[in-house]
Symmetry: D4
Subunit: 230 residues, 8 copies
């Protein structure tokens, strides 16, 4: 809008049904990632191809169902797929540096933690997972507290009562990103209980993303790692 200091036009690839933001990585550190949930398999494939055509060495999609995975594999037989994370990628994964510790409260939180881990890998960030350390046996998280000190950031994934981030944030000085999951039933209300718990955590400094949003947590953790390494 006429600001002389921002003269580089943003590059966009217009596919008709999609308008790929080719300069997002330059601006934000993370390229546009395809959200496959509301797209046909063909649309997801076209978006991945468009990103590669736009110069990316690596492109990927989240929330890919089996049909989409199959379509991607037909086009790129060597695609990287993580079924638990529902992620699929084409091109070469970046080298990794830094480390983020990803904790889960229970085994059922695994798929969301897998999405965090995939996002970190796709962002060139190292990841160490520690699973099933919920507060019902609080010694389990105390036992890993010393490991947190080696991390650049900590991601905590928890459903049901979502109490784990409150405990973790009181044990470490690392940034704690909390991911509520839809694990649980009844008054868990599809993750709402865990979300509210994390937002009202009595330990200050807990930062929260959307329910089941492993991707967002991974992107944020990667931003932290890049800030540290800058």
């Amino acid at each position: 809008m006429g600001h002389a200091d921002r003269v580089t036009p943003e590059r966009t690839a217009d596919l008709g049904f999609a308008r790929l933001d080719l300069d997002r990585e330059r601006r934000t550190g993370t390229p546009e990632v395809v959200y496959a949930a509301g797209k046909t398999p063909e649309q997801t494939v076209a978006c991945l191809a468009g990103l590669l055509d736009g110069g990316a060495a690596f492109a990927w999609a989240t929330r890919a169902d089996s049909e989409t995975v199959a379509a991607v594999r037909r086009r790129w037989p060597g695609a990287t797929v993580d079924e638990q994370a529902r992620c699929v990628a084409v091109g070469e994964l970046p080298p990794r540096s830094g480390e983020v510790v990803v904790l889960t409260a229970g085994t059922s939180d695994g798929p969301v933690a897998a999405e965090v881990a995939f996002t970190l890998a796709a962002s060139g960030v190292g990841c160490r997972r520690v699973d099933d350390v919920g507060v019902a046996g609080v010694h389990r998280v105390l036992a890993v507290a010393s490991d947190l000190a080696a991390a650049d950031a900590v991601v905590v994934v928890a459903g049901m009562d979502g109490a784990l981030p409150s405990v973790v944030a009181g044990l470490t000085d690392r940034l704690v990103v909390a991911v509520p999951t839809s694990v649980g039933y009844g008054a868990a209300f599809e993750g709402l209980a865990a979300l509210l718990t994390m937002l009202t955590a009595c330990a200050p400094g807990v930062l929260v993303v959307n329910i089941d949003n492993g991707f967002g947590a991974g992107v944020a953790a990667a931003r932290i790692v890049r800030s540290v390494q800058r």
Copy 2:
């Protein structure tokens, strides 16, 4: 309704605006207690008088505001008043036996814990309070874990994230009664966050009462103590 094994007529005192249930203590172990919140000071005084007239040695009211307290004191100068708990009693407190440990997550939960403690005292049950042991400094609750083993039951009072009962229930084999409080703001939603956390506690066996309901928690804990002593 014609059941031959229940021939004792229940005694009721009809004050017009109220119908005092004089046999509630016989049936349930706890006499009718006056809920002053929706009553005029005069109505609360009349209810207390009616309960004493009905044979009770001791009668009390919860949620009493300062006007009600003043009215009670005008009628019974020696009334027992706990301003933090908003409770007022007339007659002689019963002797105590058994012990319930009452934990709070933070200082702001104090008034609700005071209502628990008053209810226990009015029910003839001993009470030990341990305040401000929230999970942001989880060593505080670990430090008192051994004390829980001496209790007949444990009441945990917590607002904000309401995470304390999950941790406590994983440390003790005593019954854990959880009281969410309206302490907090924003997504605490007047205690809703803590309520949902407690209902979905990952440690099984946590039992929950209404938000800020110290009275109900106290009555339930007294029932447990009486069961133990029976």
Copy 3:
């Protein structure tokens, strides 16, 4: 965390995707029970095996679907299965003592009551079920009021309006654990109506668990029975 009086290290079995809390029974009276809902059948089988390997004589899982039941049976042909309760157990059930009365408001609440009953059996506690005594025909619950006096605790399972615990708690001095169920439609809001009713029960001392959480109610009732028998 350096507290000299808690030197026994907690035993944990690390399966990678799960971290079994082998000393939970020692601490809380109830061993870790496998929540099968978010696990693959293979994961549930591995958790059960890990608990037995850790020294348990008996291990079990809740929320087991038919695939999980089949997988358990393949590994342990003599497994105990309750299809209505969706529970499956391996090893020898403990002997029973004490008695908990489990009431339902209607026939549709049966599966949740079955989960309560299974949990009591797995906890070595006796159980007596009385079904379909909802308040629309209040004489039905009055007819069983005298039976409550023989119980160590009472569990009330109700959906729709969830009104039964209010009536029951006014008839007995036993601890009343209320389980809202998701039975009903429309403004029942998947059990929310019953949950709120129970939380605001006009009879004090009603303690509430999560919607459809028969397991939690059973664990709590077992804690009460153990407190009585201690």
Copy 4:
């Protein structure tokens, strides 16, 4: 809209800020009643005057605060005022016939029951109040069950758990109108808990009005009485 069988024009008095529906009584049996809550005292007085000018022998307002009551009394010194019901009327009350029984669960529900009673009186219907018969002492409502048979209709006013209409509707064949009140705290959510309970009452045939809507319950009960007497 051109329907030959509805040629009588509806009479309306246009006060600028209000458009009084002078034929509402002819159409619906109940004249327009002034809702004072969002009006200035002067507007309420003008509306009452407009209704009297339009031919009514009697006009009244609900939700009148003390300022409004004072303004009405300045204009009509002989106005009928019920402070608990927050109602004020001018003109001569109609003679009464028929009888509606109005039950309350607790003393705190009194103001709403008073609004029901005032509405019945203003509608020319007899009213019998029976207060404080909540289900925590279910014998209290059983004791009055036989009285219900004499009524043309039953109105049940209850806050907190709102369980009373379920019990009452199982004891009588009269139409049961249920009024949830905002009595209670925490998970009562300003009457929402009682509202949901009444909507999901396990006894069929319970009809529900808005929270604290004693006026609406009274109008409906009067419609029933008129139907019976027609």
Copy 5:
């Protein structure tokens, strides 16, 4: 509970999983009706048989799916079935008297209106349906206003905005029972929008039942008709 005027013991048939309330018709005018939603087909058949065995000439079930209907027909080939209403009945329908007009706002509200109609038929009450008179074309409801005067009561079934009862209650002096339906999407929130509209209807005297609860509306309307005919 010892009340000398209620000596007739209530008759109950105990099927184990169900406790049939055989005297409900005597007390309330409507016999126990089987809610098939949470029951197996076998349980529904057993309940219907138990009611007939208990002396009823006619027994029926609501919310019957196709499996249940088939099971009933296997046992009683002449059973009466209304698939749209999801109701099934055995025995002889009672003769009809009185008339209730049932209005729907749109065609999609038809199944709920069918449940109202079936309930009225099963209760021996006449029914006249007038469909698709929603307020988007308000002349449609005005055209049928004169028909309402012949009715003993009016049931209005509406989803989406649920505005129809407000208009109807301003046109007639008959009792208006409003049934919100789950028709609609988005902010209709499965019937919540219509429910709130009806509860806050600006025309007083609208009485509301649960979302999609055609059965409850029918039972209430039948109570009105019986009151009129008494």
Copy 6:
């Protein structure tokens, strides 16, 4: 109701289950459109036929599933079908004039935008779609800002955070109609998040329709175009 200036009787076609409002186009500019969601395929076909019989040159239905589409095609082989929009039409589409720009925030909002576009076409209004211009790459919407000036109105379709209308309404003086979609997960709450965002847009003048209601947005935009062309 007797108003001399509205003597033309409204024409209605009574199909029993439906009452077609044949004069709706005369009154409101848009004819009755069939909402197929709660109707059987046969009912939708009958409604379309009834509208054509009533004199319409063109009739159509929204929310048509594949069965309904098939039924319509059997009756009218030349029917116009838009599968993404779930719309089906019979008769001749009107000629177009005016132009509405339809923006989407993301590809997943496509089906709702397609319903807007179909509605505009069926209303004789031109439509220009611009897809995938969400605010995560705000240059994309800035790039199309100048195009908005050529439009008679702007429709903005967005799910997830629903932030696009706020930005658009600050860039143009055209009327902005905002359509929240159910795209997203977790705290998107099926479109509620986007709905609330749009209702509280900090740019004034944003007008909102129901979640996923492309039809309503199209009808409103057509009203604007007709107002402009009047």
Copy 7:
């Protein structure tokens, strides 16, 4: 952002605590209007002064409390104040053209309608108010239906059930902007009931703004009038 066709820099006045958008009128047709609710009286005065300094002939604020009004009057003794609308303006009101009809359902909706009217006046648009035509006496709105045909747009303001826009939109071909108000109690939930009703209006083409947002409705209506006059 480098787009050659948008070279005019936007003018902004930076007051430190506020950044006045001086070109908003050029872009959107409506200048920046001061939202006084979260500002000190001094801040509001400073913003108004800044807008006048930036070249505006007229500046105004909404949601002004009495303190703010007094502060404005001290600075500009001739300020235009509408107390019911809570609006205050300085400078010369623009001349008016076009006409918007503003309907209210009840007298209590008056303040919101006053905000609509003030906004229209401040936007140079004529306004005709018609008050208290709620659907409980539907003849009142039918009586004014013919007046709607003269309007460029219609704004409907309604609380409680919010049903009026559904009826109005079925009677006119003008654009209908619906404003839910917080008038009502209980299940009106501070305007939520009316909001949901309007969003789900069975008459298509109703456009909705935030609860009590008379300002937004006025801005939108002014956009329509400008579109018509363009």
Copy 8:
């Protein structure tokens, strides 16, 4: 709990009503900060004194009302007070390093931004505020985009639609902490709308804290700055 690598006992100061966590700064980087909202002025003063006694050079409280501020000033006349932020501190503020940019969408978000700024100052972190850059005039945020590149982290404070973080996160590679505020009315639902918007931001990597939680955002931002500087 017996872990040999964590032998340092945590130091706690027990004030009876509070249990000060004196080693929180060592563990988490931020000392215990007094939440004054639920405490008496005397309790807040005692907590501050206890923290200083425990060795802190600096102690402070949030959510301090005027009474609390006065009490603190009586005890420590040189206390640092920020009335807009409602914060009060005693002792010497730490030196600052690093920089966090704090953006607000509007002037009304100022108090929350002030709490962020105070927290950063108390944490020894530099802060640059940029106010009133909401998306209704999106050029305002574009104009400051280049400034973001100099920051270690960005905090975005916004009420109403809460759309600003989505735009900001698409313009920068810095970590974006989003703070929803309770600014707004109606469907803003006390900050819920902004909260949901931020949780569902279409730009990935936005991290969210509780509504109005400037303190939490500041603590998290300080953690990031410390990570960068480590």
